[in-house]
Symmetry: C2
């Protein structure tokens, strides 16, 4: 490990001069700066971040916490986060709150964090925030001076889904839910029910499920047993919609005709179903960008509000739409 002392010795100057030179201060002559820079390069000098952090009390690193690293879901979002942070000269590290790396927040290893991770309880987040950490949450509502939420407009998406089913002239509305402890599921369900009631007054059947493909299988079995006609299913996420497809197909129930399905999330797999899955979409990249911008405003002391991300329906055929 070569540090500024060694460079100073080699250059025949003091460590402060080295520090000034390295940080581009105008206090040193161009000549000494060049000399020092050359020596630093020759010695493969890289600043020790621990030393700097200790002094500056700031790492310029942002932590992002996700429940797991699975799936393309997070991919675009993280890209969005990273692109904005880069512009503002922040570095991004990604971890999962399940590990101990969440302690990076309280240890000030990160200047702030973006949380989309069920491993964090609300209480824990409040504790961090009350100790002064600046946070953005993407999977829950939260009211705290040091926290902002950047949320998908789940209610809007649910209303759009119901409207789309209604446009497809279904007679029965079936809602397949996620787990009860899911914030997204609760909001989507609530908004969907309300929308059906306001829009149509038709019957609503709620099938509790769990956001998984297997959950979709089970839901499809229940639906088949009831042998209703002309039903429209709003699967509160696409994974379950895939499960529904698989089970219906196995039972010769044709999606888009006897049963109409709309999902939520625009999972890539939906494009590989036949007919392709109609779903509620939103830009994950944009969501990430907004989260990052919000966190930076928070860090820089700017006034900033909670944010919402808009949704829209992508029609692909599973409501019986004609495809071009």
């Amino acid at each position: 490990m070569v540090g500024i002392r060694e460079i100073a010795k080699n250059a025949g100057v003091s460590i402060s001069t080295v520090s000034y030179a390295l940080n581009g201060s105008s206090k040193v002559t161009e000549e000494t700066r060049d000399r020092i820079l050359a020596i630093a390069k020759e010695l493969h000098y890289t600043p020790n971040i621990a030393g700097r952090t200790l002094k500056k009390q700031k790492t310029n690193i942002i932590g992002m916490y996700v429940t797991d690293f699975g799936g393309e879901f997070y991919s675009h979002m993280i890209d969005g986060v990273a692109s904005v942070l880069k512009q503002h000269h922040y570095e991004l590290i990604v971890g999962t709150g399940g590990g101990r790396s969440r302690s990076f927040i309280s240890q000030r290893f990160v200047d702030g964090a973006i949380i989309l991770d069920a491993n964090f309880t609300d209480d824990l987040i409040h504790n961090y925030a009350d100790d002064g950490s600046k946070l953005v949450v993407m999977d829950r509502e939260m009211k705290n001076k040091n926290v902002r939420h950047v949320l998908l407009d789940n209610a809007e998406g649910a209303r759009q889904a119901i409207a789309a089913l209604n446009d497809a002239n279904v007679d029965h509305f079936v809602l397949v839910t996620g787990p009860t402890d899911s914030f997204d599921s609760r909001i989507r369900l609530q908004a969907a029910i309300k929308q059906v009631e306001q829009m149509t007054g038709k019957t609503i059947l709620v099938i509790p499920s769990d956001f998984t493909i297997a959950g979709g299988h089970r839901a499809a079995k229940s639906i088949i047993e009831m042998s209703l006609h002309n039903i429209g299913i709003f699967a509160l996420n696409d994974e379950m919609a895939i499960g529904l497809y698989e089970e219906f197909t196995a039972n010769q129930v044709i999606v888009g005709q006897y049963v109409k399905i709309i999902g939520f999330d625009n999972d890539m797999l939906g494009q590989y179903l036949r007919p392709q899955l109609t779903t509620v979409d939103y830009s994950k990249h944009h969501w990430g960008e907004v989260a990052a911008e919000t966190l930076i405003s928070l860090l820089e002391g700017d006034k900033v509000d909670n944010q919402f991300i808009h949704t829209k329906v992508i029609h692909r055929g599973s409501l019986g739409e004609s495809q071009n």
Copy 2:
């Protein structure tokens, strides 16, 4: 930010006593320890990692670098890495070498790193290693005292793929490659050619492509134009195989009959094709585990060799196999 000084003041002891108590040293009486711990808790004390790092010259954090966060490919691998690191009390952070976070390595922000990221050049990795960083690479061969590679046995996988095609009694072998700068592609291609020659002496057609779905489309078009009969295609990754499927299907060429396809990687999407894609599989989770174990051995100064991960063929129907 409450530190050990403040705790010391509250407890009426010196900072060193606090440090001992906090670190569970047997030098302090149980009584004072308990008192100090209680005060620390009350004050919401969390150790400042920069201070500790500066003193210990060790962070207990491992960095993992991936090209992008996309897809389920990395997901299982990272899980494998994380599980092993956890056992050894290391923390994992994940970044991409495209950003500046790769400087964490030279800055000693991480004790070691696992690299599976085309953003790093071989030279850069050598530089880090020559400066003393311990590294494991998963996407290239590398000979350096401080580096080990943990690689997929690409050659074995390619031989298995060719053997499977041969068992399916194809007359022509078509190889669809990845980009020429891909290490995986080069090894797979080389081993596949050799295996065809040794096993059969039949004709080999190599179609250069790029590991993408679009590349698969283009390759399929070339193949259709040639109107050969009874051909077996080894797509050097599954994404291209998906592209092949799509294009063949659009041209009424039935996969598993007129054309037989085997892929590589066991991408999840392969299960959604009809017939399902036969492919060369390997455990990504295990791969990650081995990489982590290798890095830890390297960090602890244990003697450790380069490692290889085995492959096997999963038969699903795209070679015309009968499915149960």
